[in-house]
Amino acid sequence: MRLAVRQALLEQRSFWRSAEYALFTFALPLALLLLIGSTTAGGLLPGTHVKAQMIFVPSILAFGVIVAAYVNLGAKLATLRHDGVLKRIRTTPLPAGAYLTGVFASTAATTLAITACTAVIGWLAFGAAPRPAGLAEIAGGLVLGVVCFGSLGLALSSVARSAESASPIANASYLPVAIMSGIFDPTFSVPRWLSVAVGLLPVRALAQILQQGYTPVERAPLSDLLVLLCWAAVGCALAAWRFRWH
């Protein structure tokens, strides 16, 4: 445990030291937040009395989780493997679990920082504050989101054949799903069959749980919870099956 904490601290220091990496990890969700916010904030969603920012701010929160936990962790582990760092770790008596826990904890900390920034800016700039009763949903959603997308990132790093391919694979896999899930535009409409398919993927599930924390939405969050849990299990299973040290 102590080792995992130390590892997490080292990973965090390294993350912040790599300026462009840190900058873009933060810049992407924040830029999107401001961009979408500047065009739609204040308006009501068509056919409802829900303010647009109560939906898009939590959507961007979900987006931040995906970028930090899935894309970044996946690419990072693929790079560590490519560079032979994982191989080197394996020559030490450090248990694999402690190392991966440390890396995971560092990812969780980064994710928390991004979502906190997003939430604060969403509140200050667009007046989107979570419901006091929805804080538990947001906290739970974030934890589950990090676990789910983090394990998928771990799986991604193991499936990608090279460090170079990890980032493109990550982007190609989550971006279309994010668009279809209405992350960037809640009014984005897709054919019914596609909507069902997207509903089974973890992106919309996470977004809806977080949206629930801002404003009550009509859909049942229980199925979203289930979807996230299932994908977390899939991610863990894939990672355990395919994870390689070199």
């Binding site: 080792l3 130390r6 590892q7 080292l10 220091r13 390294s14 993350f15 030291r17 790599s18 790079t79 560590l80 490519h82 560079d83 032979g84 760092v85 191989k87 080197r88 394996r90 020559t91 030490t92 008596p93 450090l94 248990p95």
Partner: protein
């Protein structure tokens, strides 16, 4: 009888071999890579494993390090079985692998420190940095280090846990002569710290310079094992005595001594022999007898490891 026993036995008991390999076999599917490898590495020595590519060096070392499960035979490393006591063994091993990267943004001191935290009884940071001459680069980011500095940082990380046994896999591949020298100096320093070192390399001069004993592995077996001298002797590589060929010998008016194998090649005469002392005495007597004066440029060259290696690996004429 009692005297013969009295000396070596207590010594052996005090220093059991660092590594004992008996009848080690390994196959990948139907392909047999190691077919009965035997050798022993003594505590405190530099042991070098040589052999052509595909001879099974890497496989052998990976089995010793606990990265691979052997198919058969017995292996003891520091008294432990690497197959099922891997984590206990790791605490006492230092491993320098080829082409192993570092986390890109870490600083030298910080990285060594976290590595120290992985081991139960680490060496002090200052000492590690000074052994590998990186004290001045302590706050330097790892990605800014030169190739030679990186290799020395490899050493520092491998030494972090104060290991009893260090594995070095081709430590100087791709180095310029200056970096090689510094790397060799670092290895010699490790030995002076009392570490047992197992080295694999393709450079025979490196093995010759560093190793107390070498083993030549070929076709999944140890062909020869011993000190460089012993290996050369076993390979039957002759010692070469060369000297400036005197005029009469070149012109053919004086024949070379009949009992020696002497060839004249331009201005140089070369004598190949298994017994340099006898051959030298013969040569000097022959020179005196025919009034050939001093044999100018007289040089005795003991066989190099390279000669012996090539002869063994190519199954050279015995």
């Amino acid at each position: 009888m009692t005297q013969a026993l009295a000396d070596p036995v207590p010594l052996r008991a005090e220093h059991p071999p660092a590594i004992e390999v008996r009848g080690l076999r390994m196959s990948y599917g139907a392909r047999q890579v190691l077919c009965g490898v035997d050798f022993e590495v003594r505590t405190g020595e530099v042991f070098c494993l040589l052999g052509p590519n595909g001879a099974g060096k890497t496989t052998t070392v990976e089995i010793l390090e606990g990265f691979r499960q052997r198919t058969g035979g017995s292996v003891r490393v520091l008294g432990l079985d690497p197959a099922d006591q891997r984590s206990r063994l790791r605490e006492r091993l230092g491993i320098v692998l080829q082409e192993c990267g570092f986390p890109r943004q870490a600083r030298v001191g910080e990285l060594v420190n976290i590595w120290r935290a992985y081991y139960p009884a680490p060496r002090p940071l200052e000492e590690l940095l000074s052994v590998v001459e990186l004290t001045a680069d302590r706050d330097c980011q790892v990605r800014r280090l030169s190739g030679g500095q990186r290799r020395r940082l490899d050493f520092a990380l491998a030494l972090a846990g104060d290991p009893d046994l260090v594995f070095l896999d081709e430590p100087t591949t791709g180095f310029d002569p200056e970096s090689r020298r510094r790397c060799w100096a670092a290895i010699e320093k490790l030995r002076s710290l009392g570490k047992t070192i197992v080295l694999t390399t393709h450079y025979l001069d490196e093995a010759e310079r560093l190793a107390d004993r070498v083993a030549i592995l070929q076709d999944g077996r140890v062909q020869t094992v011993g000190s460089v001298r012993q290996v050369a002797r076993q390979a039957g590589v002759p010692t070469t005595i060369s000297f400036a060929a005197p005029g009469p010998l070149r012109r053919g008016s004086v024949a070379p001594p009949g009992c020696l194998d002497v060839t004249v090649c331009g201005e140089v005469a070369v004598c190949r022999t298994a017994n340099a002392a006898v051959a030298l005495r013969e040569l000097l007597a022959w020179a005196a007898e025919h009034d050939l004066g001093e044999l100018d440029d007289l040089a005795v060259e003991t066989p190099t490891l390279e000669d012996a290696y090539l002869r063994i690996v190519n199954g050279g004429a015995r």
